[in-house]
């Protein structure tokens, strides 16, 4: 097939988004997804530019507003696979309220959150996942807020899939992505640790490499208590892989109109 021309990439050399993009491309193909039936949705940020650097349908909209658009796309045409690729600031900060309610509704869209624990596009302010004490040019006395634990929130909301990955572990991230992409019923949250080489001098590739540990095969993702323990594990060890799998019905399957058919495809001209 002939692919359209892609946008010129302006990420910094060495950016953690590059391996993330490569792994995502591999995972989309491994999962056997039809790219013409795939819609990538993002907000604003360096992470949110990812859809411009690969082949799929794209809606790159407003800061923090990826999830309402993604929800609308999924409801209009449930036959589409809807994947959000946006950053920790966009998804946990500006879009935090949307995240909470999309999880609560259990809408069948997948959110892959590029988590570099900093606002990279705007050159290094603290994001919702920046650690306490981290000194930035804006938080010159160090961050005084507790980082948000999105994984814990997602498990508490009993979504369909919760996972964590690290771009420095291609194989583990690839397999977690494929499993996340195969999940078609309910909300998917995959938090992907991805170093910002220009503006986060604390959480570097080495910092993550020293801590990231693939989750033991004995972990049962349907065990909510065990999943919560993994989601809370952050420090000398950071577990990566599939953390939780819920079985709650999706919003679409319970909605009286959506359960009947596809609003776009079944639309009678």
């Amino acid at each position: 097939m002939t692919y359209p021309q892609l946008a010129e990439n302006a990420w910094c050399p060495g950016c953690g988004n590059f391996p993330l993009l490569k792994t995502l491309n591999d995972a989309i193909d491994s999962a056997g997804l039809d790219r013409h039936k795939l819609v990538l949705v993002s907000g604003i940020g360096q992470a949110a530019k990812l859809p411009h650097f690969t082949y799929a349908n794209v809606f790159n909209g407003l800061h923090g507003r990826a999830l309402p658009v993604a929800t609308g796309i999924k409801f209009a045409n449930p036959a589409l696979k809807v994947l959000i690729t946006s950053g920790d600031g966009d998804m946990y900060g500006e879009g935090g309220n949307h995240l909470l309610h999309t999880m609560r509704r259990n809408v069948s869209v997948a959110a892959f959150v590029h988590d570099n624990q900093i606002y990279g596009l705007t050159k290094g302010q603290a994001s919702p996942t920046t650690e306490e004490g981290h000194v930035t040019k804006l938080q010159s006395f160090g961050v005084i807020n507790k980082p948000v634990n999105a994984l814990e929130l997602a498990i508490a909301n009993d979504v369909a899939f919760v996972g964590r990955g690290f771009v420095g572990n291609h194989e583990n991230l690839h397999d977690t992505m494929v499993e996340a992409l195969h999940c078609d019923e309910g909300f998917v949250l995959l938090d992907i640790l991805q170093p910002c080489v220009s503006f986060n001098k604390v959480n570097t590739f080495k910092w993550y490499k020293d801590r990231v540990t693939p989750i033991d095969k004995s972990h049962d993702p349907t065990d909510k208590e065990a999943a919560l323990r993994l989601a809370r594990t952050w420090g000398d060890e950071i577990p990566v892989g599939v953390i939780y799998k819920g079985s709650r019905p999706s919003f679409e399957s319970r909605h009286p109109v959506l359960a009947e058919g596809n609003p776009v495809l079944d639309y009678d001209d």
Binding site: T2, P4, H36, I44, Y55, A56, N57, V58
Partner: protein, 212 residues
């Protein structure tokens, strides 16, 4: 155009005609793999497809090229902006002409838009009952862009040469009066404004016109 006043209003109406017939969604049934959502065209309108077809549908809130992908190319940015502005011509051609109500050769003409239609219409009836020089109104269903020629035609068709125009608006500055002046559609007008948070009433408009 709808607002809270209309949404809160209770009244008896005839059943709406819901047999709208065919609605043209202007959607392509088939696209090639070279589909471009923002293709440059003479009238500025690009062929429309929705995701799921052969080509990729790419939409971006930042400046983009014809495919929809990000661009920082200055010439491409200008071409896309020029394309957007070409659509303005179509909007002007399709301008929904203002509606007229009241006496011909009117001395007092209320100019309004949106939900003030009802109160203005009743105010025109009150003024004509009082019979102090014929009154009329011109209501704009489309407020932007303004087709100057078509707007002037309706505004001038029924008013007598020295008629007084009153722009009736629910804001404190008379934004639509300013837009009409900017478009050259109505230069001289008085403003009747209400901005205390409540909608207009016929009696209020009537008394305001009588007091001037």
């Amino acid at each position: 155009m709808i607002d809270q006043y209309l949404a809160d209003l209770l009244t008896n109406v005839e059943p709406f005609d819901t047999s709208l017939g065919h609605i043209d969604r202007c959607l392509l049934d088939e696209t090639g793999e070279d589909y471009q959502r923002y293709k440059l065209t003479e009238d500025g309108v690009s062929p429309r497809a929705i995701p799921g077809v052969n080509g990729f549908v790419v939409a971006d809130s930042d400046e983009h090229d014809e495919t929809g992908h990000l661009t920082e190319d200055l010439e491409v940015a200008k071409a896309q902006q020029d394309k957007r502005m070409r659509k303005n011509r179509l909007l002007l051609d399709d301008f929904i002409e203002p509606a007229f109500y009241g006496e011909r050769n009117a001395a007092k003409v209320l100019v309004c838009w949106g939900s003030s239609y009802g109160p203005c219409r009743e105010a025109v009836d009150l003024l004509n009952e009082r019979n102090e020089g014929a009154a009329a109104m011109v209501h704009f269903p489309q407020v932007f862009p303004i087709n100057t020629e078509k707007a002037r035609k309706v505004l001038g068709a029924y008013a007598r040469p020295a008629a007084t125009f009153y722009c009736v608006e629910g804001n404190s500055t008379g934004q639509f009066a300013d837009m009409l002046r900017e478009a050259g559609a109505l230069i001289e007008s008085q403003k009747i404004l209400r901005y205390d948070g409540l909608p207009f009433t016929a009696k209020g408009i009537y008394e305001e016109v009588c007091s001037r």
